[in-house]
Symmetry: C2
Subunit: 344 residues, 2 copies
């Protein structure tokens, strides 16, 4: 990775500093600082002269230097999985809104589901001295953050819990949501239900699989190996899984898909399939209402908002024990989940 900051000569047109402003206004450095920060103890006339100098020079305070003195940066880091995933956009935006209300700016970074990249990103943010860190984990070992947290970086995990450290986490009820979604299919008469999910090392994916199994077990239904397909969200992989489940010796009559990306591919695959097949997906999707796709919706914005609020509560001095908050999910019946199994 190239490193900009290491390049020797700066091409910057030099910026005016408070010293320049002071010289131009014929006042002391500290007086400029006072004006800029709205501190009291400056006569209106002096203030006017300073403001004129600021205006004339196009001065803007260097917050980097300020940070060095003050300790706090009014900056928060958000490490997520992929900003291009429509699930994370609203989450990120919600974090941003809370940060903004607290006067903080937001660093954004995507881990691309790579633990090393997650770590690299989180530590780079710590080196920039963010006040707080919100992390959607890609990895399952976050001990690397311990020194940072001890040093005072408030840290909240979202969507998935931290691995091997004790930290705040804000999660959706993946287990309960999946269980409800599958139970919904069972209630509509299905007995052979397939599960297509993300890689099980991802916490949410494992939880949803667990929810699927729980619902089946609660109903006294068996689960065949051929009905369970965890793995990548690659469209080819998912399409193949759909095809195989529908062609198995004991074919499934309904599918539960483990997240938005899987659902999209499953919907496409089912559209190509002849008979209608019941489907419930985890995560809502834009236009799913028009397609009549029944989903278990989680509130991405609420996840982000809750996490950010918790973060700022800590930054405001709250000294509570790390806590795990679980947000509920909502089943939205739109048709695909209410299709009855074929009369056999």
């Amino acid at each position: 990775m190239a490193d900009i900051a290491r390049r020797p000569e700066s091409r910057y047109g030099t910026r005016p500093t408070m010293k320049d402003v002071a010289a131009r206004a014929g006042v002391g450095l500290k007086t400029v600082s006072r004006v800029v920060n709205g501190e009291r103890g400056v006569t209106p006339d002096t203030e006017r002269r300073v403001r004129e100098a600021i205006e004339a020079l196009g001065f803007r305070r260097n917050d980097s230097a300020r940070v060095l003195r003050k300790g706090r940066t009014a900056t928060v880091g958000l490490v997520l999985e992929d900003l291009a995933d429509p699930f994370y956009g609203p989450l990120s935006r919600a974090v941003e809104e809370v940060a903004r209300a607290h006067g903080a700016l937001l660093f954004n970074g995507s881990s691309a589901e790579d633990p090393d990249r997650e770590q690299e990103l989180a530590l780079a943010l710590c080196a920039r001295r963010v006040d707080g860190l919100i992390v959607i984990p890609a990895g399952d070992d976050h001990r690397y953050l311990e020194p940072e947290m001890r040093a005072g970086v408030a840290t909240v995990f979202v969507d998935r819990p931290a691995g091997r450290i004790d930290a705040d986490a804000v999660l959706s009820d993946s287990f309960g949501g999946a269980r409800d979604g599958v139970a919904h299919l069972i209630a509509h008469g299905h007995r052979r239900i397939g599960f297509i999910g993300d890689r099980p090392r991802i916490h949410t994916a494992a939880e949803r699989l667990r929810g699927y199994r729980a619902a089946m077990e609660d109903a006294g239904l068996p689960v065949r190996d051929a009905w369970v397909s965890p793995g990548s969200t690659d469209p080819d992989r998912v399409s193949t899984a759909v095809r195989e489940m529908l062609a198995a010796p004991e074919p499934v009559t309904a599918l539960f898909s483990g997240n938005n990306r899987v659902t999209v591919t499953v919907v496409r695959a089912l559209a190509r399939h002849g008979r209608p097949v019941a489907l419930v997906g985890f995560d809502d999707i834009e236009l799913a209402d028009l397609l009549g796709v029944t989903v278990v919706a989680q509130d991405a914005a609420a996840l982000g908002r809750t996490a950010a609020q918790r973060l700022f509560r800590r930054l405001d001095g709250a000294d509570e024990a790390p806590e795990r908050l679980v947000l509920g999910t909502t089943l939205l019946a739109r048709g695909s989940g209410e299709i009855a199994p074929p009369a056999a």
Copy 2:
């Protein structure tokens, strides 16, 4: 807006500095700096002692202080309209990837289509001394950025051009795309076509409206006032517009929608309508393929990537005149745009 950095006492557990590391390793301050930065001139034995001290203390270099010395921050700011809009997620992600390849981190901020907020955000980023700024304009006067650009902040505008200043811009061909989309409808026999778009003070919205008019004029077709409805993307507003156009004395037989949010609402409204109505939308939408919605697609990721590349070229010293790059659009025929007008 509250200001975190202004709070007096820092709750931070104090972090070790290079001085602490030097003391513990029994070497000079500068030697630690050398080790941390991989400079030569340190014996392996000394280096080992320093690394041990770093490890033991959990030291991490303070990049804020570093920045103060070096001038560059290896930080780029992105001001966009709304991170929760699925159009901007991929754009932001593309910018991030380019930034990452150059060793830079990304600040993200949403203007919420509010010019004041755009300015506030952009200037806050400048105060943080970002090396470069990528802006999706909400306002139409960017003279406030002139001092910053003179001071060396590389600036590139995306999606919409800057107002009242001369600056790089990377745009999609809104005019051409809209003209092609409307021409497509005309080619399928439509003569009364409605346009529902975003507020015309937004550059892209105005351009698309212009493209619509051009296509109609090229075909020698009249445009009735009742067929043109620029305005907010509020679902109620858009639904009403759809209803009115379909119920007008000379009802439209096809609609062109000006962006992704409008399209979504139009699709919903048309689904409630009895007869099929032809539709072409600007911007692609997830699952539009399944719904058979014909769209004029722009490549959001390419917009972001191109803008970021241009930004870093400038940061690398390129001293070219400001330029306007226009990226082409693609018409994706999926059914809704190929519906013939009713036999009259």
